[in-house]
Protein backbone atom coordinates (compact mmCIF):
# COMPACT_ATOMS: atom_id res chain seq x y z
CA UNK A 1 0.00 0.00 0.00
CA UNK A 2 2.69 2.47 1.10
CA UNK A 3 4.89 1.60 -1.86
CA UNK A 4 2.07 2.05 -4.35
CA UNK A 5 1.09 5.39 -2.82
CA UNK A 6 4.71 6.54 -2.89
CA UNK A 7 4.97 5.49 -6.54
CA UNK A 8 1.79 7.38 -7.34
CA UNK A 9 3.05 10.55 -5.62
CA UNK A 10 6.42 10.24 -7.37
CA UNK A 11 4.68 9.85 -10.73
CA UNK A 12 2.57 12.96 -10.12
CA UNK A 13 5.63 14.95 -9.02
CA UNK A 14 7.54 13.82 -12.10
CA UNK A 15 4.61 14.83 -14.32
CA UNK A 16 4.48 18.26 -12.65
CA UNK A 17 8.24 18.67 -13.09
CA UNK A 18 8.08 17.73 -16.78
CA UNK A 19 5.32 20.28 -17.36
CA UNK A 20 7.07 23.00 -15.33
CA UNK A 21 10.42 22.57 -17.07
CA UNK A 22 8.86 22.68 -20.56
CA UNK A 23 6.77 25.70 -19.53
CA UNK A 24 9.71 27.71 -18.17
CA UNK A 25 12.07 26.92 -21.08
CA UNK A 26 9.41 27.70 -23.66
CA UNK A 27 8.40 30.90 -21.87
CA UNK A 28 11.99 32.17 -21.85
CA UNK A 29 12.64 31.24 -25.46
CA UNK A 30 9.33 32.80 -26.53
CA UNK A 31 9.94 36.03 -24.62
CA UNK A 32 13.51 36.29 -25.96
CA UNK A 33 12.41 35.65 -29.52
CA UNK A 34 9.65 38.25 -29.35
CA UNK A 35 11.92 40.84 -27.75
CA UNK A 36 14.77 40.25 -30.18
CA UNK A 37 14.99 43.91 -31.26
CA UNK A 38 15.39 46.94 -29.00
CA UNK A 39 13.21 49.10 -31.23
CA UNK A 40 10.83 51.36 -29.29
CA UNK A 41 8.25 50.97 -32.04
CA UNK A 42 8.17 47.17 -31.97
CA UNK A 43 5.06 47.16 -29.84
CA UNK A 44 3.23 49.53 -32.21
CA UNK A 45 4.16 47.45 -35.25
CA UNK A 46 2.93 44.21 -33.68
CA UNK A 47 -0.04 45.43 -31.69
CA UNK A 48 -1.52 47.71 -34.39
CA UNK A 49 -0.37 45.62 -37.37
CA UNK A 50 1.45 48.50 -39.07
CA UNK A 51 2.49 48.15 -42.69
CA UNK A 52 6.02 49.18 -43.64
CA UNK A 53 4.76 52.52 -44.97
CA UNK A 54 2.75 53.21 -41.81
CA UNK A 55 5.70 52.23 -39.63
CA UNK A 56 8.00 54.58 -41.59
CA UNK A 57 5.55 57.47 -41.10
CA UNK A 58 5.13 56.66 -37.40
CA UNK A 59 8.91 56.47 -37.01
CA UNK A 60 9.27 59.89 -38.58
CA UNK A 61 6.69 61.33 -36.17
CA UNK A 62 8.28 59.51 -33.22
CA UNK A 63 11.77 60.78 -33.97
CA UNK A 64 10.46 64.30 -34.47
CA UNK A 65 8.61 64.19 -31.15
CA UNK A 66 11.38 62.79 -28.92
CA UNK A 67 13.63 65.93 -28.89
CA UNK A 68 10.62 68.14 -28.10
CA UNK A 69 9.61 65.79 -25.29
CA UNK A 70 13.16 65.77 -23.92
CA UNK A 71 13.26 69.57 -23.99
CA UNK A 72 9.97 69.81 -22.07
CA UNK A 73 11.22 67.26 -19.53
CA UNK A 74 14.35 69.36 -19.04
CA UNK A 75 12.23 72.45 -18.40
CA UNK A 76 10.03 70.55 -15.95
CA UNK A 77 13.09 69.23 -14.09
CA UNK A 78 14.54 72.76 -13.89
CA UNK A 79 11.24 74.15 -12.59
CA UNK A 80 11.05 71.37 -9.99
CA UNK A 81 14.54 72.40 -8.85
CA UNK A 82 13.36 76.01 -8.51
CA UNK A 83 10.32 74.91 -6.52
CA UNK A 84 12.45 72.82 -4.18
CA UNK A 85 14.77 75.80 -3.68
CA UNK A 86 11.76 78.04 -2.94
CA UNK A 87 10.53 75.54 -0.34
CA UNK A 88 13.90 75.00 1.34
CA UNK A 89 14.07 76.44 4.82
CA UNK A 90 10.51 77.81 4.87
CA UNK A 91 7.73 76.60 7.13
CA UNK A 92 4.83 77.67 4.94
CA UNK A 93 4.01 77.89 1.23
CA UNK A 94 4.99 81.44 0.31
CA UNK A 95 3.94 83.33 -2.80
CA UNK A 96 7.20 82.46 -4.59
CA UNK A 97 6.59 78.75 -4.04
CA UNK A 98 2.98 79.14 -5.19
CA UNK A 99 4.15 80.81 -8.38
CA UNK A 100 6.68 78.04 -9.02
CA UNK A 101 3.96 75.44 -8.45
CA UNK A 102 1.71 77.19 -10.97
CA UNK A 103 4.55 77.39 -13.51
CA UNK A 104 5.37 73.73 -12.98
CA UNK A 105 1.73 72.77 -13.47
CA UNK A 106 1.58 74.90 -16.60
CA UNK A 107 4.71 73.25 -18.00
CA UNK A 108 3.31 69.81 -17.26
CA UNK A 109 0.04 70.73 -18.95
CA UNK A 110 1.92 71.99 -22.03
CA UNK A 111 3.96 68.82 -22.11
CA UNK A 112 0.85 66.63 -21.78
CA UNK A 113 -0.92 68.58 -24.52
CA UNK A 114 2.10 68.11 -26.78
CA UNK A 115 2.11 64.39 -25.96
CA UNK A 116 -1.60 64.05 -26.73
CA UNK A 117 -1.13 65.92 -30.03
CA UNK A 118 1.62 63.45 -30.88
CA UNK A 119 -0.68 60.52 -30.10
CA UNK A 120 -3.34 62.01 -32.39
CA UNK A 121 -0.79 62.44 -35.20
CA UNK A 122 0.45 58.86 -34.77
CA UNK A 123 -3.12 57.52 -34.72
CA UNK A 124 -3.78 59.30 -38.01
CA UNK A 125 -0.82 57.50 -39.57
CA UNK A 126 -2.53 54.17 -38.90
CA UNK A 127 -5.59 52.46 -40.37
CA UNK A 128 -8.69 54.17 -38.87
CA UNK A 129 -9.75 51.32 -36.56
CA UNK A 130 -6.20 50.72 -35.32
CA UNK A 131 -5.72 54.46 -34.89
CA UNK A 132 -8.80 54.72 -32.67
CA UNK A 133 -7.61 51.77 -30.63
CA UNK A 134 -4.11 53.25 -30.29
CA UNK A 135 -5.44 56.63 -29.17
CA UNK A 136 -7.78 55.09 -26.60
CA UNK A 137 -5.01 52.85 -25.27
CA UNK A 138 -2.45 55.65 -24.98
CA UNK A 139 -4.93 57.96 -23.25
CA UNK A 140 -5.82 55.17 -20.85
CA UNK A 141 -2.16 54.50 -20.05
CA UNK A 142 -0.95 58.09 -19.77
CA UNK A 143 -3.99 59.82 -18.26
CA UNK A 144 -5.44 56.87 -16.34
CA UNK A 145 -2.90 57.24 -13.55
CA UNK A 146 -4.15 60.74 -12.71
CA UNK A 147 -7.76 59.60 -12.95
CA UNK A 148 -7.08 56.86 -10.40
CA UNK A 149 -5.54 59.37 -7.99
CA UNK A 150 -8.40 61.84 -8.48
CA UNK A 151 -11.02 59.16 -8.02
CA UNK A 152 -9.35 57.89 -4.87
CA UNK A 153 -9.33 61.45 -3.45
CA UNK A 154 -12.87 62.42 -4.47
CA UNK A 155 -15.53 62.69 -1.68
CA UNK A 156 -17.36 59.66 -3.07
CA UNK A 157 -14.35 57.48 -2.35
CA UNK A 158 -14.57 55.22 0.68
CA UNK A 159 -11.76 56.76 2.69
CA UNK A 160 -11.92 60.32 3.99
CA UNK A 161 -9.55 63.16 3.34
CA UNK A 162 -7.65 64.25 6.41
CA UNK A 163 -7.82 60.86 8.07
CA UNK A 164 -4.55 59.57 6.63
Amino acid sequence: MKRSAANLILALLAAGAVFAVSFVISQRVGAKRMASTADDLDWLRQEFRLSDAELARVRELHEGYLPKCAEMCKQIAAKKGELEAALTGVTNVNSDAEQKLAELASLRAQCQAQMLRHFVEVSQAMAPEQGRRYLAEMQRITLGFHEQIEQSMSPSADHNHGHH
Binding site: V18, I25, M115
Partner: protein, 108 residues
Protein backbone atom coordinates in the same frame (compact mmCIF):
# COMPACT_ATOMS: atom_id res chain seq x y z
CA UNK B 1 -7.94 -62.07 18.47
CA UNK B 2 -11.36 -61.61 17.00
CA UNK B 3 -12.53 -58.39 15.40
CA UNK B 4 -15.22 -57.88 18.08
CA UNK B 5 -12.54 -58.03 20.77
CA UNK B 6 -10.64 -55.18 19.05
CA UNK B 7 -13.81 -53.06 18.88
CA UNK B 8 -14.59 -53.45 22.56
CA UNK B 9 -10.95 -52.65 23.44
CA UNK B 10 -11.16 -49.45 21.31
CA UNK B 11 -14.33 -48.35 23.02
CA UNK B 12 -12.75 -48.90 26.39
CA UNK B 13 -9.66 -47.02 25.34
CA UNK B 14 -11.73 -44.15 23.95
CA UNK B 15 -13.70 -43.96 27.19
CA UNK B 16 -10.48 -43.83 29.20
CA UNK B 17 -9.06 -41.08 26.95
CA UNK B 18 -12.25 -39.00 27.27
CA UNK B 19 -12.05 -39.24 31.04
CA UNK B 20 -8.34 -38.40 31.06
CA UNK B 21 -8.89 -35.22 28.89
CA UNK B 22 -12.10 -33.58 30.03
CA UNK B 23 -13.48 -30.91 27.64
CA UNK B 24 -12.59 -27.50 29.16
CA UNK B 25 -15.37 -25.02 29.72
CA UNK B 26 -15.45 -22.12 27.20
CA UNK B 27 -13.58 -18.97 28.26
CA UNK B 28 -15.70 -15.92 29.16
CA UNK B 29 -17.04 -13.86 26.16
CA UNK B 30 -15.88 -16.60 23.84
CA UNK B 31 -18.61 -15.98 21.24
CA UNK B 32 -18.05 -12.21 21.21
CA UNK B 33 -14.33 -12.72 20.67
CA UNK B 34 -14.98 -15.08 17.82
CA UNK B 35 -17.16 -12.47 16.06
CA UNK B 36 -14.56 -9.79 16.68
CA UNK B 37 -11.90 -11.90 15.04
CA UNK B 38 -14.15 -12.56 12.08
CA UNK B 39 -14.79 -8.83 11.66
CA UNK B 40 -11.11 -7.92 11.85
CA UNK B 41 -10.37 -10.58 9.26
CA UNK B 42 -13.01 -8.96 7.01
CA UNK B 43 -11.35 -5.55 7.46
CA UNK B 44 -7.98 -7.01 6.54
CA UNK B 45 -9.54 -8.35 3.38
CA UNK B 46 -10.98 -4.92 2.54
CA UNK B 47 -7.60 -3.21 2.96
CA UNK B 48 -6.06 -5.88 0.79
CA UNK B 49 -8.63 -4.92 -1.86
CA UNK B 50 -7.52 -1.24 -1.59
CA UNK B 51 -3.91 -2.23 -2.02
CA UNK B 52 -4.85 -4.26 -5.05
CA UNK B 53 -6.72 -1.28 -6.50
CA UNK B 54 -3.78 1.10 -5.94
CA UNK B 55 -1.38 -1.47 -7.36
CA UNK B 56 -3.61 -1.77 -10.39
CA UNK B 57 -3.63 2.02 -10.92
CA UNK B 58 0.12 2.41 -10.49
CA UNK B 59 0.77 -0.61 -12.68
CA UNK B 60 -1.46 0.91 -15.34
CA UNK B 61 0.25 4.29 -15.05
CA UNK B 62 3.72 2.89 -15.35
CA UNK B 63 3.06 1.05 -18.57
CA UNK B 64 5.78 2.34 -20.92
CA UNK B 65 3.45 3.37 -23.74
CA UNK B 66 1.09 5.30 -21.51
CA UNK B 67 3.96 6.94 -19.59
CA UNK B 68 5.52 8.03 -22.87
CA UNK B 69 2.27 9.46 -24.23
CA UNK B 70 1.58 11.28 -20.94
CA UNK B 71 5.09 12.74 -20.90
CA UNK B 72 4.72 13.89 -24.52
CA UNK B 73 1.35 15.52 -23.79
CA UNK B 74 2.80 17.28 -20.73
CA UNK B 75 5.81 18.54 -22.69
CA UNK B 76 3.60 19.83 -25.51
CA UNK B 77 1.20 21.50 -23.08
CA UNK B 78 4.13 23.08 -21.23
CA UNK B 79 5.60 24.39 -24.49
CA UNK B 80 2.23 25.77 -25.62
CA UNK B 81 1.35 27.54 -22.39
CA UNK B 82 4.95 28.69 -21.87
CA UNK B 83 5.20 30.16 -25.36
CA UNK B 84 1.94 32.00 -24.90
CA UNK B 85 3.06 33.37 -21.55
CA UNK B 86 6.45 34.39 -23.02
CA UNK B 87 4.72 36.30 -25.81
CA UNK B 88 2.60 38.17 -23.30
CA UNK B 89 5.64 39.08 -21.21
CA UNK B 90 7.50 40.30 -24.31
CA UNK B 91 4.46 42.31 -25.43
CA UNK B 92 4.18 43.97 -22.02
CA UNK B 93 7.90 44.79 -22.04
CA UNK B 94 7.67 46.28 -25.54
CA UNK B 95 4.64 48.35 -24.53
CA UNK B 96 6.42 49.60 -21.42
CA UNK B 97 9.45 50.56 -23.55
CA UNK B 98 7.31 52.56 -25.99
CA UNK B 99 5.31 54.28 -23.24
CA UNK B 100 8.50 55.18 -21.37
CA UNK B 101 9.84 56.76 -24.57
CA UNK B 102 6.80 58.89 -25.43
CA UNK B 103 5.39 59.57 -21.97
CA UNK B 104 8.13 59.92 -19.35
CA UNK B 105 7.14 59.45 -15.72
CA UNK B 106 6.60 63.16 -14.88
CA UNK B 107 3.72 63.17 -17.36
CA UNK B 108 1.93 60.14 -16.02
Amino acid sequence: MKESDFKSADEKLNGLLREARPAPSLPPRFQENVWRRIESADQRNASTTNVAWLDLVTGWMFRPKLALVTAAVLVLAGIGFGWNSGEQIARQDAQARYVAAVAPNPLR
